[in-house]
């Protein structure tokens, strides 16, 4: 809502101040998603007033945390103009590792998780050196993640380490616990992608790889950094998911692959690369996650839930088109 209330105040300056209008245009998609999010919270609250209390908000938001973190991973990759169709399987694989190796021997588990991040780096390097489309490379990798997960844990199960379970059950007084990881990760990604030199190089790779090379910088390094960050965020998302489900299941996050893409688009990202919108993605991810909460509160039949979810995504994007036309 904050973005929206700010927008009218700035609008008189529109005809003269170009940067402001550009800024406004960039913030518009996230603002539309923020409106959708506010509407959804309002609907929840009208149906069930307890939603607005701290435990209520924690409950409603907790399911969205892993999705939001995975969406940040997707956004990082989309900022270099690539796309990750393996993130769902990867997050699932991390939950499996968290529920098996990380319990039996924390050191091995941690090393495996580091190895998974390194695997993402290698994937990025190969994608760059062999100049293959990231879409198909990550698609192929998703089969590998799925296979690894199934070979470690053929059926869902296992237990999560005590510290992870404690994090999942953490209920601080005064503010909803899920907000902390959402904001913390968004801030981290903001620092990396929008405020650091590495982030500038990543976005340059997405918007104009030729300019990046002409500037004497390595596109390979930029892509490797982006893939490493994506892998690290994927691991984080998997750990949070495991802390909530209390076990490992390689297919527990398979819907994330496309949902994270939707979250990035809702948050104002684009497929063309060059844009990093961590705050928008946090809003987009929470909006998407809240849809299922609203639907269950509204008693929508299970069979119809996904249809309503699809229609809501389309409606939010349609709202974005309208706002975009107004601002042009």
């Amino acid at each position: 809502m904050a973005d929206l209330t700010r927008a009218p105040a700035l609008s008189p300056a529109l005809p003269t101040a170009l940067p402001t209008r550009a800024e406004l245009r960039r913030a518009a998609p996230a603002a539309v998603s923020a409106v959708a999010m506010a509407v959804m919270v309002a609907v929840c609250a009208s149906l069930q007033p307890d939603v607005l209390t701290v435990p209520g908000l924690s409950l409603v938001l907790s399911a969205t945390v892993p999705l939001v973190i995975a969406a940040q991973a997707q956004m990082t990759l989309m900022s270099v103009g690539d796309i990750d169709l393996g993130i769902g399987a990867f997050v699932g694989l991390v939950t499996v590792i968290a529920a098996t190796s990380l319990v039996s021997s924390p050191v091995t588990g941690a090393l495996i998780l580091l190895g998974l991040v390194a695997a993402y780096t290698v994937l990025g390097v190969l994608v760059h050196l062999r100049r293959v489309p990231s879409l198909i490379a990550t698609l192929g990798a998703s089969f590998v993640w799925m296979g690894l997960g199934l070979s470690v844990l053929p059926t869902p199960g296992g237990t999560t380490p005590a510290w992870l379970a404690a994090f999942g059950a953490w209920q601080p007084a005064g503010f909803p616990a899920p907000l902390l990881p959402i904001l913390l990760v968004a801030a981290l990604v903001y620092l990396l992608a929008c405020r650091s030199g590495a982030g500038v190089r990543m976005r340059a790779l997405g918007s104009n790889p030729v300019a990046l090379q002409r500037a004497g910088l390595s596109p390979l390094a930029a892509r490797a950094v982006a893939y490493t960050a994506t892998g690290a965020l994927g691991v984080l998302s998997g750990l949070v998911l495991a802390s909530q489900t209390g076990g490992g299941d390689v297919s527990s996050a398979s819907s994330y692959t496309l949902m994270t893409v939707a979250a990035v688009i809702l948050g104002g990202g684009s497929f063309r690369g060059g844009a990093a919108v961590p705050w928008g993605v946090a809003i987009g991810g929470v909006t998407l996650g809240l849809v299922s909460v609203v639907l269950s509160l509204l008693d929508v039949p299970t069979a119809l839930q996904s249809a309503v979810q699809g229609v809501i995504v389309l409606a939010v994007l349609a709202g974005r088109v309208v706002v975009g036309k107004v601002l042009r």
Binding site: G81, L85, L126, L129, R130, R131, V132, P133, L135, I136, A137, L139, G140, A141, S142, F143, V144, W145, M146, G147, L148, G149, L150, S151, P154, P209, V210, Q213, P219, L258, V261, A262, I265, S270, F271, T302, A303, L304, Q305, S306, A307, V308, Q309, G310, V311, V313, L314, L317, A318, V321
Partner: protein
Amino acid sequence: MNVRVLLTRPWIWGFAAAALVWVAILAISGQGGGQTVSLALSLAPYLVVVGLGQMLVITAGPGNIDVSVASVISLAGFVSVAAAASTGSVVLGVGAGVAAGIAVAAVSTVAILGLSVPPIIATLASGLVASSATLSLAGGFTAVPDPGLRELLNLRPAGVPLFAVAVAAVTAAVVAVLRRTVYGRSLIAVGQNRRAAERAGIPVRRVIAATYLASGALAGLTGSLLATYIAPTADLGTRYLLDSVAVVVIGGTLISGGRAVPTGVWGAALFFILLDGLVNLVGWSTAAQNLLKGGLVLLVLFLAGGGARTPGTSLPSLRRRRRPAAADTTTPGETTDG
């Protein structure tokens, strides 16, 4: 010389991989090489039909992809079996399945062209709608697939599945459409450079709409036939989403659009089906199956690469990968044809 041939014939990799897997199957089982091919030829066509639709969509240019095919296949399976059972006509049943696919694709098309929603999101949303419809239909579903059509799909005179021949004819038709018709040339032009195609007077929106509707129809056809061949289930199409994209790209179609290789879809589909056969033969688990599939997809992909990498030329070729028409002089010719 060798590298040149491989570069000019992008479909070779799928067939090469399929042949490799076939040899592996022969070496392990020691007999029945022809039987393996015959079996693969009876399963691969389903993947080919949905792959051809996906190929048309991907050819339409950067960002174009149809992620609703999985839900469409499942939905069309139920719709066609139900329609065939209630009307008693197989043709009507298959027609209803195709119509269901077109209806879902129409939702995507309206979202893409009317609301300017990115195709991956639009087809995701319409796929969600389709899967809701599937779940509603699946509850208390009792109709059984038509035995006559099933027999026809299973017909294998001299070991060659009739259905494979039919799909080969469809593939040939797609090749002809892409090469000879105004629509096909327009589609390739739009895929190479949408703006240039627009300036040349090509009805870009109509071409894109036709492409998504064609993909929906082909996915609907796949679902109708697959449900008859196996049985209608809610997750009938699940594996076809990733597989359809994978076979298109392994087949040599440019992921950035503008170059379609229908023949390559066959090679890649045979590769995938034979791979399943090999894993079943060895008796590996689903885990190993996934690992092998992913590993081989990555291997073929990285071996084939985006072309030979020579120092100093990496920049122009990087640009070509993203915007094929930028470095391609064929666009004017393409557009005058369209």
